[in-house]
């Protein structure tokens, strides 16, 4: 397993480089333009100059190499400088700079990370915590009223998109009941009890909307996988050996059923960092998802390239983690 992991990690580097090039190529080919959202009062000749000042008159390959240099060399150096408070070279390196804000993309990401982790991450944790018990109980008591209800709600959760559930919650809880704010305050800092209560209040709606959606999907996979395993021979054997039902279900069946669930969770974790575009938009959370969508709408290539690439790194990494967990859950799985 160790050798496998090392081999996979080494192979990751060319993979990611290739992915970064493909992403750059797509972003560059896409027909949206950084001047597209400017008022029409800015005449075409000025737009040409704006594009030139952004470096868009350079060939694509040169711009890609420039990004590589900025991202793989300048940004890490800069980070080392900040961490250890030292200066390497003359300290004036060009960092990856967003076209719309003219500020380093990495700083923007760092600024956005807290609210994304709080809201999207929390919703994921809540989703998992709801989904696994629901999936297990639903499968164990297949076709009971609990199972039917669980099925109904998970289908509802998956087929009704978040733009709708989010809006519905705002209309009910913000407009009519006035319980929760409809606009998330990203500058809010938790310092005491009352500010903590406020933080919980403003998180509750986006977290619930997303958790509902995530749990719906996850609980279905959990249930299906549990059902498969409950019918396996080893379950009968274990019961025949006189093991307690609790032990059979929670240790043997659950463990063997987790493979698809681990896959789905591993696929979902990078998405936490990618933010939740629609939910962030509805509740004005302005996390990474909102940053990405603004970047895409404004054809902000350095921003979108960097965000998407970080996202790609996480995807590759978490898929590797999932593969390792498979081996732990089921020792028969060997990659060597």
């Amino acid at each position: 397993m160790f050798h496998y992991t090392i081999r996979r990690l080494i192979f990751t580097i060319p993979t990611l480089l290739f992915i970064s090039f493909v992403i750059f190529f797509i972003l560059d080919t896409a027909p949206n333009d950084p001047t597209g959202n400017l008022p029409l009062t800015i005449p075409p000749e000025v737009r040409v100059k704006i594009r030139a000042s952004l470096g868009l008159d350079q060939p694509m390959f040169i711009r890609y190499l420039l990004w590589c240099q900025q991202f793989f060399i300048n940004e890490p150096l800069n980070m080392i400088e900040q961490w250890f408070d030292i200066t390497i070279g003359d300290g004036t390196r060009l960092r990856v700079t967003s076209w719309s804000t003219r500020s380093p993309v990495v700083d923007l990401v760092v600024e956005r990370l807290p609210q994304t982790l709080w809201v999207v991450g929390m919703s994921y944790v809540v989703g998992i915590l709801i989904a696994i018990p629901i999936g297990v109980i639903s499968a164990y008591k297949q076709y009971s009223w609990f199972d039917q209800l669980g099925t109904f709600f998970s289908m509802l959760g998956f087929s009704v998109p978040t733009f709708f559930t989010g809006l519905l919650m705002i209309v009910i809880f913000s407009v009519h009941l006035r319980w929760f704010p409809s606009i998330y305050d990203t500058t809010h800092k938790v310092t005491d009890w009352s500010s903590f209560v406020f933080q919980v209040k403003q998180m509750i709606m986006p977290v619930m909307v997303l958790a509902f959606f995530n749990a719906a999907q996850l609980s279905r996979f959990m249930r299906a996988s549990m059902l498969d395993n409950l019918q396996q021979d080893y379950v009968r054997t274990a019961r025949a050996k006189g093991l307690k039902e609790r032990v059979v279900v929670l240790t043997h069946v659950l463990r063997n059923s987790l493979i698809p669930v681990v896959t789905v969770i591993a696929l979902g974790v990078p998405q936490v960092f990618g933010g939740a575009i629609i939910t962030e938009q509805i509740f004005k959370v302005n996390g990474l998802g909102q940053l990405l969508i603004i970047g895409i709408q404004g054809a902000d290539i350095p921003l979108v390239q960097t965000l998407t690439f970080i996202f790609a790194v996480l995807i590759v990494l978490f898929n590797l983690i999932a593969d390792i967990i498979y081996g732990l859950l089921d020792p028969r799985i060997r990659y060597d």
Binding site: V22, A30, S159, V171, L292, I293, R332
Partner: protein, 301 residues
């Protein structure tokens, strides 16, 4: 459905068995009935309820349900019932075809990667690549490259339809692939696969006869979720101006357009939302029933 290929040629008795088992699954029967009703409503319904979904009767805008307009009207005075019926055709077609494409690709990639060690690396790295691609810019590129060509070849509506189902199919298979692969990795180490291998069963047979039936459950779940996903994604596409022309109703689009009118004319969001949910729910129960019916261990009981 992908599974029919496995059983084909096994004779009528097996199909009979499957059907017998399917019949005993109450949820599956209800699901089938609801799904048949929805199909009937959207494909035959417009011939019975003949109102034109695109006709604007602007003086009757934003009406609640009435005799003239059973589900009310939208902000331009279009008949909601007619729109839901017509919209269903496209949504169902997009949902099912796109789901089928994504399932087919995803299952194939997952099976191959899980079973053949040599293919695992390349196929999974390709999956990583597809997962990492930024969807929106990719869509803009695809639209730029192919919209006019397809529009010229098949006309505005069929051309866009082909484009949409391929886009949704091509960008949503990765989850299925990863899930199937994970399961195959575990399945292929099981005793019965070892046994089949040891007696020299060809790989193709092992995959189709022994492994595929055992990874059917997650595939069925993916299928259900895939239908919902495709219907919703279609509406997101048309919002980006990448989907059908704007006066062409689909369920996702009706729901999206109606969301802001939620407090003014609630019927506008209730019906398309309900239609999507019912479809997904019925597909889910059909999937449940099918899985049980196709599983020999259950069928015997």
């Amino acid at each position: 459905m992908t599974d029919t290929t496995i059983i084909e040629g096994k004779g009528r008795t097996l199909w009979g068995d499957v059907w017998d088992q399917y019949k005993t699954h109450k949820g599956a029967l209800i699901g089938t009935a609801v799904f048949a009703f929805i199909l009937f409503a959207v494909f035959i319904g417009p011939y019975i309820y003949t109102a034109d979904p695109q006709y604007l009767s602007i003086r009757d805008k934003n009406q609640g349900p009435s005799l003239a307009y059973p589900l009310g009207t939208d902000q331009l005075g279009r008949d909601m019932l007619a729109q839901v019926l017509h919209g269903g055709r496209v949504s169902l077609a997009v949902g099912i075809i796109a789901m089928a494409i994504s399932l087919l690709v995803g299952t194939a990639v997952g099976l191959l990667a899980g079973y053949f060690k040599k293919l695992d690396g390349p196929l999974m790295r390709m999956t990583d690549l597809f997962l990492a691609l930024p969807l929106l810019p990719l869509l803009l590129v695809i639209i730029m490259l192919f919209r006019d060509t397809l529009r010229g070849m098949f006309g505005p509506e069929t051309g866009i339809f082909i484009l949409i189902v391929s886009i949704i199919g091509a960008t949503s298979w990765m989850h299925t692939a990863r899930i199937v692969r994970g399961d195959v990795l575990a399945q292929k180490e099981r005793e019965f696969v070892m046994a089949a291998k040891s007696i020299g069963t060809p790989d193709r047979r092992i995959i189709l006869r022994h492994i595929l039936p055992n990874v059917l459950s997650p595939i069925m779940v993916s299928a259900t979720l895939g239908v919902a996903n495709a219907i919703i994604t279609e509406s997101a596409l048309s919002f980006l101006g990448l989907g059908f022309p704007s006066d062409f109703p689909t369920w996702g689009r009706l729901l999206f357009d109606g969301a802001n009118y939620m407090t003014l004319t609630p019927a506008r969001v209730v019906w398309p939302g309900l239609a999507i949910s019912l479809t997904v729910l019925s597909v889910n129960f059909i999937g449940d029933g099918l899985r049980d019916a196709l599983d020999p261990r259950i069928r015997g009981r």
